[in-house]
Symmetry: C2
Subunit: 335 residues, 2 copies
């Protein structure tokens, strides 16, 4: 039997807890450490905390450095924050132990143009240490960037790319429903929008991943946010949006080259959304019109792609990678 | 301006001639040599031969070794034969000059299980010379292997994968129409099938690429061929199939694991085929049902992916690669 891949789960919010379940399903992986800063979680057994219903013999610690030093992991799964500024020191702390990083940090999915200085530092550090760092997830990381980009492999010309991710948020995790503003009044929505706390992070990164793959230089990107208003009462288990309130968010990423709109990403997530689907339309030669009926369940997908990426990162070249410049991430059998 | 990538076009049948046009559209590429063994082509200017309508100053030669030695290429685009046995010595001859290879050879797309000895030799030679070799194309190489495999990145479990490639052969190149048996009587079809000259090459390779990505070990594969019979007269510019004759081929690849059918690839190409499309159905968690409406035009797509792969191979690690273990191939702008 080949040696197991030793993994630390760093970040134990709802997403990190769920990923713990996914990691445990893979017999080729072994969870050797768990990190979170929340005092309420520190000292708990990872199994108890994440609802696995058995003790795993892995105690949650708030001392990442000590956990990594003591457990010799191959990969750290990092599910803490969404922005480069706060994730950079966490990654630096991991890299000094020569350990690979797979993270769900949205801004890390393609930071080369949005945060070039920080990205450059992480890249240099990872190369120096001979390990790889990847930001991934269902979106950004797959549905609105990697997949559209890959589909153009068969194109001799591309004029524009338009992507739709239309989701019914009803079955999604509660933090996600809150993040998209479901149940807020319009003034509440607009206040949160102004604060910057209500938005899907990643449309700009997705546009840069696609454009860079094509060798396109975008001269402008826009990320527009508006509420989706309920025309009748809609509700999930946790949240009710009365008529006239917000049931979700409609966000549009627009990328321009020489004044022409060449990339358009429609992200719409709302309670009671009809006809959820993923669609990519490549206006090129040949024209490609791809649809995934019913869409892809975001929570399962993000946990799955993160887990699957643990295997791929072991084969990646050192440095700060992105989904398009490393071996393909795919399902790896559970046993 | 960055240095141009120097390319040799090796193999100047209909496909190689068409790829020449695609290569010429990319200003970042420079065609520095042309090779074919056909005495009728040797000595011609590549532009004249391929119908570019201008001289390119590149003369077709039957001496691959001399052309490569004299023109210092970065990549050879190899479009000669479909089988490993005949392509291996051609590749070996290229590799000794430390030059990357992108080939449309179907069996080269994933030869690690179908021709392990030859594949191993090519891999060792490429590593020794520090260059990469890739077999690609729309199929095998993309629609029935790489794309389904990539779609599973978001899956926590996969039970079965079923792929449909349903094509209307009417607008395809004439050699393709002939290859699929359009216009033959059923006895003629069966004779050619018996001889092994009438089949789409690649279903087995596609199944192995998917299964290997998953870490699945197939215990049996089947590649079944049957004619598609015309129920009324159908015709293309070049070929007519009367009622009762063959208008194309329906080929099914079936892969089994522990006696259970886990992979099924439906390849159907026929004159007058209604509702052409690409579909991948992943029976897993989540379930993924992907459709490309109208399908992907095979000739354009194969030439495009081969041209786009020239850029990707320059970033690939040395060795015999496949589409899933190197940076993603995508459209690269034409200028």
């Amino acid at each position: 039997m080949p040696k197991k891949i030793r993994v630390i789960q760093y970040g134990l919010g709802p997403l990190g807890q769920k990923i713990t379940h996914f990691l445990l399903e893979r017999k080729q992986l072994q969870i050797v450490g768990a990190v979170d800063i929340d005092p309420a979680k520190v000292g708990m057994d990872l199994g108890e905390l994440s609802g696995v219903k058995k003790k795993l013999g892995v105690t949650v610690s708030n001392n990442a450095d000590a956990v990594i030093r003591g457990s010799r992991p191959d990969v750290v799964v990092l599910t803490t924050v969404s922005d480069m500024k706060r994730i950079a020191p966490q990654i630096a702390g991991i890299l000094k132990h020569k350990v690979n990083v797979v993270s769900t940090c949205e801004e890390l999915s393609y930071p080369f143009l949005t945060a070039p200085a920080v990205a450059g530092k992480i890249d240099a550090l990872a190369r120096k240490r001979g390990v790889a760092v990847l930001g991934t997830g269902v979106n950004p990381g797959f549905l609105m960037d990697y997949l559209p980009l890959s589909l153009t492999a068969v194109c001799k010309d591309v004029k524009t790319v338009t992507v739709w991710r239309i989701q019914d948020a009803t079955p999604r995790r509660i933090p996600f429903q809150k993040k998209i503003g479901a149940g807020l009044t319009v003034p509440q929505f607009n206040r949160k929008k102004k604060e910057g706390t209500l938005r899907h992070v990643g449309l700009t990164e997705s546009m840069h991943m696609i454009a860079s793959g094509f060798g396109w230089k975008l001269d402008k990107t826009m990320d527009l946010i508006q509420p989706v208003i309920a025309t009748r009462r809609v509700k999930s288990k946790a949240i009710t949006a009365e008529r006239g309130m917000c049931r979700g968010v409609y966000q549009i990423g627009r990328g321009f080259m020489k004044g022409r709109e060449v990339l358009t990403l429609h992200f719409r997530a709302a309670l009671g959304e009809k006809n959820p689907h993923e669609r990519t339309l490549i206006n090129g030669k040949p024209r490609i019109d791809m649809m995934i009926k019913g869409g892809v369940h975001g929570d399962i997908a993000t946990c799955a792609i993160t887990t699957n990426a643990v295997f791929a990162i072991m084969k990646a070249n050192p440095g700060l990678r992105n989904m398009a410049d490393m071996p393909a991430v795919s399902f790896v059998r559970a046993d």
